[in-house]
């Protein structure tokens, strides 16, 4: 076989646009040699998972072609890909919790005679595969009793059981402890030894450097670099990953713009906007929210929070950066009181609120903008007015009280709609009928209704068009200049570097460090997020 022959897996010119207009893959290329571990790295939303889903037949690309072992292939569904020898283990387990491990392995390919499952034969084969890899597993245990690490192994065995020669792993170590992760990698090396090919999506650059043969870097839907992993460094990878800085979030609004009509912006179009001047934070730093040595147990294999201390001052925006699942939800929910910390103290305006219920904290000047506005932020079937009242429904000045005051509520709602430029046909319109941007504005308007001193905002602008993003930030900026302290969680470094005065970086549930505005540097932040190194 020729050394410069075509790669084993070859994806060329893959473009995938979703119905929402988001371009997830834009002329992406990937070449993987047989018998290697090939890593794919990139920021959240860079298009890694989409590209792998195209390879796995879950998405059909708009353009581009896939060649496998020198032959053109076209997958109409994962079943086609499985037949062609591709297996995928997704980030979150796809095992059905109520079935046993062996039943999950067989799922979709149940060997049966006259409708009776042939479990014993199947189990022997699965055990044979497992034995070769040195894995022992209780096949009769229900999936929900297995640890995340064990589930991962079982999923890999399922892929091999189905005859996979190419294994795609999406963030396999995200939920694993370090020892479990190193076990997994020795397993992957064994697989490669026996002729399998491994495609690995990861955020952790150290893993790439230690275990992968080659690495492809993706950014904004494109494959921007392809290197041998022994010829690169974490710093270089991080800097290629994040790319040159783009300024968008605090851009001045172009004159005569009409809100709500602007189409969603592709990431590459973002550079066109100028930066607005920021007002300096208040002179005397007044802490509004303090978190001291907070420890929150993790759930579902997530790291939780390990001894995190932070202080949020009046009039500042404190950004929280980190790859998804580094402890952001745990931090915010513990601050609001939706999660009980194992240890640590939470001070709101100097008062200990660690053991107070959410309602108390919200009354005492904390506001919360949850990560999923449709799931946690709004009651979609409620009207806009009723949604604004949520949490304020005991406050007479907003139309609440033991007996509600519909007239006052309507008037208050009209005022809020006008003040924040929320486009809603009327206060009685159901929140479900508003656009995503207007829904988020309703949530923020509700947060600000009680004149809070601290706001915990998660993924404020996720999935929103640019006009809405700017409107949200101008609303926040007005409140901030009045002394509101904002804890802003985002997965988007551009958003954080523009909006935040300081950025705290979380890595695997602990605080990697806090970067001030002067030191904000995308390479540093990227390295902290992916390796946990202090700057």
């Amino acid at each position: 076989m020729d050394a410069v022959a075509e790669p084993f897996v070859h994806m060329a010119g893959i473009t995938k646009t979703f119905a929402t207009g988001v371009v997830a893959n834009d002329d992406a290329n990937l070449a993987v040699q047989r018998g290697t571990i090939h890593a794919i790295v990139g920021e959240n939303g860079a298009g890694k998972t989409t590209l792998m889903n195209v390879l796995y037949g879950r998405y059909r690309p708009d353009a581009g072609r896939i060649r496998l072992d020198g032959r053109d292939v076209e997958f109409r569904s994962p079943a086609d890909a499985i037949k062609a020898g591709i297996g995928m283990v997704t980030q979150h387990s796809t095992f059905l919790p109520a079935l046993t491990a062996i039943e999950n392995v067989l799922l979709g390919h149940e060997p049966a005679v006259l409708g009776v499952l042939r479990l014993r034969a199947a189990m022997e084969r699965a055990e044979e595969i497992a034995a070769k890899l040195g894995i022992t597993l209780d096949w009769r245990a229900r999936a929900d009793t297995l640890s995340v690490a064990t589930l991962h192994k079982a999923e890999i065995i399922r892929a091999l059981y189905r005859g996979a020669r190419i294994l795609i792993l999406d963030e396999p170590t995200a939920a694993l402890a370090p020892q479990e992760a190193s076990q997994l990698f020795s397993l992957l090396h064994d697989l490669v030894q026996s002729g399998h090919t491994v495609l690995l999506i990861t955020h952790r650059l150290r893993e790439v450097l230690e275990h992968a043969d080659r690495v492809t870097v993706m950014r904004a839907g494109r494959t921007v670099a392809d290197m041998a992993s022994d010829s690169t460094t974490a710093a270089e990878l991080a800097s290629v990953m994040v790319g040159p800085s783009r300024k968008v979030y605090l851009a001045a609004e172009p004159a005569g713009e009409t809100f709500g009509e602007e189409p969603t912006l592709a990431p590459s179009d973002r550079a066109a906007f100028a930066v607005v001047e920021r007002h300096p934070p208040h002179a005397a730093p007044l802490p509004v929210l303090e978190v001291r040595h907070l420890i929150v147990p993790g759930q579902h294999g997530r790291p939780g929070l390990q001894d995190v201390s932070l202080t949020l001052y009046a009039g500042e925006v404190l950004g929280i950066a980190g790859v998804d699942g580094s402890g952001q939800s745990e931090l915010c929910e513990a601050i609001v009181g939706l999660r009980t910390p194992a240890a640590g103290t939470i001070l709101l305006n100097g008062k200990d609120v660690t053991h107070r219920p959410p309602a108390y904290r919200l009354r005492k000047g904390l506001a919360y903008c949850p990560e999923d506005r449709q799931r946690d932020g709004l009651v979609l079937g409620f009207s806009v007015a009723e949604n604004l009242l949520l949490g304020h429904h005991r406050e007479p000045e907003h139309g609440g009280g033991a007996i509600l005051n519909p007239q006052r509520l309507r008037d208050a709602t009209r005022m809020v709609l006008q003040l924040h430029h929320i486009e809603a046909p009327s206060p009685e319109t159901a929140a479900a009928y508003l656009s995503g941007g207007n829904q988020q504005k309703v949530v923020i308007a509700r947060c600000l209704l009680g004149k809070p001193s601290a706001l915990v905002a998660m993924h404020l602008t996720r999935g929103l068009d640019l006009a809405s993003v700017r409107r949200l930030y101008s609303i926040l900026e007005a409140a901030r200049s009045q002394g509101l302290g904002v804890l802003l969680v985002s997965l988007d470094l551009d958003e954080l570097t523009e909006a935040a005065d300081r950025i705290a970086v979380l890595f695997s549930g602990r605080l990697a460090g806090i970067v001030t505005r002067q030191e904000m540097d995308r390479d540093t932040l990227g390295r902290m997020m992916t390796t946990g190194a202090a700057h």
């Binding site: 919360y368 799931r375 979609l380």
Partner: protein, 357 residues
Amino acid sequence: MRATWRRVVIVFGPLFGALAAGWMIIALTGGDANGAMWQLLVGAVGDLPGATHTFLETGRVAVPNELLRSLAKATPLLLSGLAVALALRGGLFNIGAEGQLMVGALTTAWVGYAAAGLPLWIHLPLALAAGACAGAGWAAMAGALKAWRGAHEVIVTIMLNYVAILLTHWLVNGPMRDSTSLAPATPQVLPTARLWAVEGGANFSAGFGIALASAPLVAFLLRRMALGYEIRAVGANPQAARAAGIRVGWITVTVMALSGALAGLAGAVEVLGVHRRFLDAFSPGYGFDSIAVALLGNLNPAGVVFSALLFGALGSGAVHMEAFTGTARQIAGIIQALVILAVGVRAFRIPWRDRKP
């Protein structure tokens, strides 16, 4: 406008469909379908045109007995239907209205016969309140188990039904049995605890007024009170309610208690207005029919009034139909079941969920 039209179709479509199906079943089995349907109607409302005529001519109010019987049958259905509807608005499926009704009825009967020497204006409200409180406590157990132990309220309320039915059965056959009575029953409630009732066997009592007055109260609670707002928020999206500081567990217990209170009240008015005592197994399944009543009423208090009246009329009309045409009264049960089926198929369709926002 479209939404209103839609609601009319949702409510009346199943009803007329079921009536038509009932007509066809009678016709196909060789019965006189037109005659049976007519007698069903007469049995439900009686000689209403005649009574109206009399009223216009002489100014004398003479409500037909058949209509009174329909309203009497609707009374417990209305109260327990409101109970189920209220719980469902809070996101809880209270299957236990039957048990709460039985417990409420027995407690009311006990206060009614045991608390002697009280004036009517204390004794009667006390007896009613006792039934409501017993029902509330019974249901609150299921609410508390759901809120703090995660036990599903459907399972718990079903189980509590058995407990309630067997417990009252034992009490009324044992410690609380009136030894002078042939049937297992408690002693009669004292005159000071009786609700006003029409003489002559129509079973119509002031309990209907209590039931009818409860509907606007429930509507007011849901629409205009902060507690009702919290109940609706928890029912529609418990996660958002929690994130906004509403104590979801506490609301779960409260809404179950309120629901149980209404079901208990249903039992109380049956005891104080109709039977004057707790009769063993007096309920033909009001608590279970009330689930259909609540769903047919679209979980809306006004709608529940409508559907309870409808079910009351069907029940009353069926007896009449059987007596006059020989058509089995179970036909009415079939019609009722078809209405429930038709409603059940659409019960949880929420209009804005049909298309993705």
